[in-house]
Each structure stands twice: as structure tokens, then as C-alpha cells.
């Protein structure tokens, strides 16, 4: 796999192969072991031998990492009982072994076909993430695909120490189609891709501070972003959370009445929105002049 391939077009296994040091990936519960969903056959839906999640250990820049990558092509990368248990198990292993945990996210959230089982699984994975954070083991979410991180998976990524996004990635809870149904096409036209990405895409999330890094759409850029974060963690402290509270409060006060993303962009210092929309990740980061904490 050449590092010049577009990250958002790669499959989960291609992403892992192109991120880690060659030949170092060792998969846990690989497809030949056939750990699969017990629910989907009851609904006449095809199963996948890995239940849509690839997990394992590898080295990245010579350092050990635990990695998970979601398979968006399989039921939208959604989290069912098995997918969720694999994810939680991996994160718990990271906490136990004090090895950084990287989640390559591509998921619409809970797998509806598995209902509450998937929902509880996400909650368990969140608990495992905070177990890592309590032990200062870095947890890093990479959101670089069109499917992005939605529903419970969107919330889960906000529990991690760090989020790396590309401009293709999206982060949110309710997706555009659900919001369009709820609010009407006038308020949110889900087929308007520019609006969808300005609402939830990587550039907007980087600008408001919900993504810590904006990487280019290639595995090399994503890998070097991960490398810069591997030695860092963000332990929870009262002072840190109070400061975050203030940031979120002033964001709501400043922009709570705005529904226009262009106003948000200009309010955050982007003078030329069309130019910034077309800018590469590197150019955008320079334009954004965000104070990195």
C-alpha cells in the first residue's frame, strides 16, 4: 500500500497497513476465528467474519500501539454486541498494558439491529477509555472517513484524550438525514454536501476546537499526527474541566444564535471562506491560527 493513497478511500485493513510500521500488525480475533454477530442471521442479514472491526497491536514509528479500525462498508461500521466487545476488550488491554490506543473510526453509531446490546457496549467502551485516561495511557481517535463518527461513536470519540480529523471526517451525534426529517428540508437539506461538511466536517471541528489536529487525507499525514500524540495524555483535573467548561459556555453564548456555518467560520477568524474551503489541511491550519492547547 502506497502512502499516497487517499485515507478516506481506504478500507480498514488498508488503513492499518499504511499507518503502522511494515509487518508489525498482529490482529486479535481475525476473520478465520469467525467471531460474528448472533443477531444479524435472525434478521436475514449477512454477517461479517470480523463483525466490522479490526483490532490488534502494532508498532508506529517504532512505538507499540493497540489499534482498532472500523469497517464502514459493513452495516455502516456500526457497533453491535461483538463489535462492541472487541472494542472494549482492546481498550481495556491498552489500559492494562499501558500501551497507547488508537481508534480509526468509521461508524454511524449503535447497530440498530442489535438495539440495546450495542448501546450498552458503547457505554462499556467509554468506561474503558476513561480507565486508560486515569492511568495516563493515551487514547487517540482518528476520524477521516465520510461516514465519520456519529451517534454513540461520536460521543465516544469526545471521551478520548485526542481527536485527529481530516477534512473528509465528520463528527456528530444526529446525522443529516435524521435532522432533515425532524426539522424539515428548509432547515437542513441533507443532500447539500457543502452544508453537511461545514456543519460536522473536520475543518469546522478543528476550528471550534473539537478536533485537536487536522491531518491531510493520506496515511502518512495521519501517521505523523498520531506519532506526535503518542507520548502525551490529558489527565482529567478540576482546573482543566473548569477551563473546558468556560470554553464550551462561551462558544454557546457567542454562536448559539447562528445557524450559518460561514458566520461561525468568520467569527473564528477565517476571512475568506471560499479560499479556506478549498485549502489543504496544512494551509487551513495556518489560516485558522488556532491556539493549540
Amino acid at each position: 500500500m502506497s502512502r499516497a493513497s487517499l485515507f478516506h478511500e481506504q478500507t480498514a485493513r488498508q488503513r492499518i497497513a499504511s499507518l503502522v510500521d511494515p509487518g508489525t500488525f498482529h490482529e486479535f480475533l481475525p476473520p478465520p476465528e469467525r467471531v460474528m454477530s448472533p443477531y444479524l442471521p435472525l434478521l436475514d442479514i449477512p454477517v461479517s467474519f470480523d463483525d466490522g472491526l479490526v483490532i490488534g497491536r502494532a508498532c508506529l514509528g517504532g512505538k507499540p500501539v493497540y489499534l482498532a479500525a472500523q469497517v464502514g462498508q459493513f452495516v455502516g461500521g456500526s457497533i453491535g454486541e461483538v463489535h462492541g466487545a472487541k472494542l472494549t476488550g482492546l481498550i481495556q488491554s491498552a489500559a492494562r498494558d499501558a500501551i497507547p490506543c488508537v481508534l480509526v473510526v468509521e461508524s454511524g453509531g449503535v447497530r440498530l439491529h442489535e438495539g440495546s446490546s450495542g448501546e450498552i457496549a458503547i457505554s462499556e467502551a467509554m468506561r474503558a477509555i476513561f480507565e486508560c485516561r486515569a492511568k495516563k495511557v493515551p487514547t487517540i481517535a482518528v476520524i477521516g472517513s465520510d461516514i465519520g463518527a456519529y451517534g454513540g461513536m461520536g460521543i465516544l470519540t469526545t471521551c478520548c484524550d485526542f481527536r485527529i480529523m481530516t477534512e473528509h471526517g465528520r463528527l456528530g451525534i444526529s446525522g443529516p438525514i435524521v435532522i432533515e426529517k425532524w426539522m424539515g428540508k428548509q432547515a437542513y437539506d441533507s443532500s447539500n454536501r457543502a452544508l453537511v461538511w461545514k456543519t460536522s466536517g473536520g475543518k469546522t471541528k478543528y476550528l471550534i476546537g473539537d478536533a485537536d489536529m487536522l491531518a491531510g487525507d493520506d496515511a502518512g499525514s495521519v501517521a505523523s499526527a498520531i506519532e506526535t500524540l503518542l507520548g502525551k495524555s490529558r489527565p482529567l483535573t478540576l482546573a482543566g474541566l473548569k477551563s473546558r467548561h468556560g470554553d464550551l459556555d462561551s462558544r454557546l453564548k457567542t454562536f448559539g444564535k447562528t445557524s450559518d456555518p460561514h458566520e461561525l467560520w468568520s467569527g473564528l477568524g477565517i476571512k475568506d471562506t471560499p479560499q479556506a474551503s478549498l485549502a489543504s489541511a496544512k494551509e487551513f491550519v495556518a489560516l485558522a491560527k488556532r491556539k493549540v492547547k
Binding site: H113, G118, I120, M126, I179, M183, D210, L252, G256
Partner: protein
């Protein structure tokens, strides 16, 4: 049951220490002799950015000013608000902030006890109540990912098919009992129970270890999570 009457059943006279505003609950009250911090939702309200921030603010106040006080979370919320502006401003991050505040409380020795009193659905349950050390529910509460009609609309699987499956699959059925079979709820309370006594027991029994996968396996509702 109306909110004031429900709070009375949990906290007796001390329920006056809980502010009810915009269907959000924040305050301090007593369970028997034990002082507790309370956050919650009522009226099946939708949680938005401001709501999550308000609940988080109260948790920070408790951590700072009332060390180690148990935190009681009451849940009656139909979900997160599907709204474009809310999404643009990072609703997920507001939820993540609320969870982070609860985690700091846990690390600082506060017990986290949840009672699902009404609707406890999707992201609204995930963003605080499901994060408890101990999670109980009233038998009348509606717990689950989403109602069968909504699930049918999104998955394109006919509602009668899902309805039939839900009778043997607790993860598709809505309610406190099926959720407890999956391990997501420790104990289901009946309406004749003494809520204050039950809550006191729940606080005493709460432990920070996540036992839900083990519970789901033991009860047979979620066999593969462990």
C-alpha cells in the same frame, strides 16, 4: 407521576433543595440521613448543548465544594435534540464534557448512582445515566436504543418482524426488564417499593467496577460481551 411528587418519594422534604428548570434537575438533597448531589432530566425532555453544560456545571460544583458526596442521576429524557446548530456547535463534545466531569467525580471518590425514572433513550441515557457505578430503573421506565417503529423506519425491516423478534431478543425490546437482562440495569424497582430506602441501598452497594458484561452473561441476555 408528576416531578415534585416523584422527587418527594426519593428525597422527602429535602426535595426542595432540587431546582427544576427547563425540565432539568440540579441540586442537593438527602436520602435518609445521607446528603447527595442530584442531577437529572424530567418530562421526557430532549437534551441539548445548554442542558448538558448545566448538568456538567453542577457536577463541577459538587466536586469542588462537596467532596465525595454521592451523586444521584435521574433520567427521563427522550434523546439528544436532532438540530443542525446543536451539531455545528459540537453537541457530542458537550456530552463528552459531561461524561468527563462525571469521571473526575468518580476518580475523586464520589459514588455515581442512576435511576431511570421515565424515558432513558439513546444518546440522552448514554451521556450521563449509563455512566453510573450502579444503574437501577423503575419498572415503568422506557429504556432502549429507539422505539421499534423508528428502528423499522431506519433499518427498512418491517415493524411486525422486529416486534416478533423482540419477544425473544431483550436487546430489541424496550423497557427496564429487558435492559436488566442485558446487564444494563442492576435492579428494577416496582411502584410499591420504598424509593428512598431503595436508593439508600443502591448508594451503599454502588461500586466503580463496570460489571455490566458479567451481569448480562449471568442473566443470559448478552452472552458474547465478556
Amino acid at each position: 407521576m408528576k416531578t415534585p411528587a416523584l422527587l418527594q418519594k426519593f428525597f422527602g422534604k429535602s426535595a426542595t433543595g432540587i431546582t427544576v428548570k427547563d425540565s432539568l434537575l440540579t441540586g442537593y438533597a438527602r436520602v435518609g440521613a445521607q446528603e447527595v448531589c442530584v442531577i437529572g432530566t424530567c418530562d421526557g425532555t430532549y437534551i441539548n448543548n445548554a442542558a448538558a453544560l448545566r448538568l456538567a456545571g453542577h457536577i463541577l460544583d459538587c466536586i469542588e465544594n462537596r467532596p465525595k458526596l454521592p451523586i444521584v442521576m435521574l433520567v427521563d429524557s427522550a434523546g439528544q435534540e436532532p438540530n443542525r446548530t446543536a451539531e455545528m456547535l459540537g453537541l457530542a463534545s458537550y456530552f463528552g464534557h459531561l461524561l468527563s466531569c462525571l469521571q473526575l467525580a468518580r476518580q475523586n471518590g464520589h459514588k455515581l448512582v442512576t435511576v431511570a425514572t421515565g424515558k432513558a433513550i439513546g444518546g440522552a441515557f448514554l451521556c450521563y445515566g449509563m455512566f453510573g457505578d450502579r444503574i437501577d430503573a423503575l419498572d415503568s421506565a422506557s429504556l432502549g436504543l429507539m422505539p421499534i417503529e423508528a428502528m423499522s423506519a431506519v433499518t427498512k425491516i418491517p415493524a411486525p418482524v422486529l416486534e416478533k423478534l423482540s419477544r425473544t431478543m431483550p436487546s430489541l425490546e424496550f423497557g427496564a426488564k429487558p435492559f436488566s437482562l442485558l446487564g444494563g440495569v442492576e435492579e428494577v424497582w416496582s411502584k410499591t417499593d420504598d424509593y428512598a430506602a431503595k436508593l439508600a441501598q443502591a448508594i451503599a452497594a454502588a461500586s466503580p467496577a463496570d460489571n455490566r458484561a458479567a451481569l448480562g452473561k449471568k442473566r443470559g441476555g448478552r452472552k458474547l460481551a465478556l
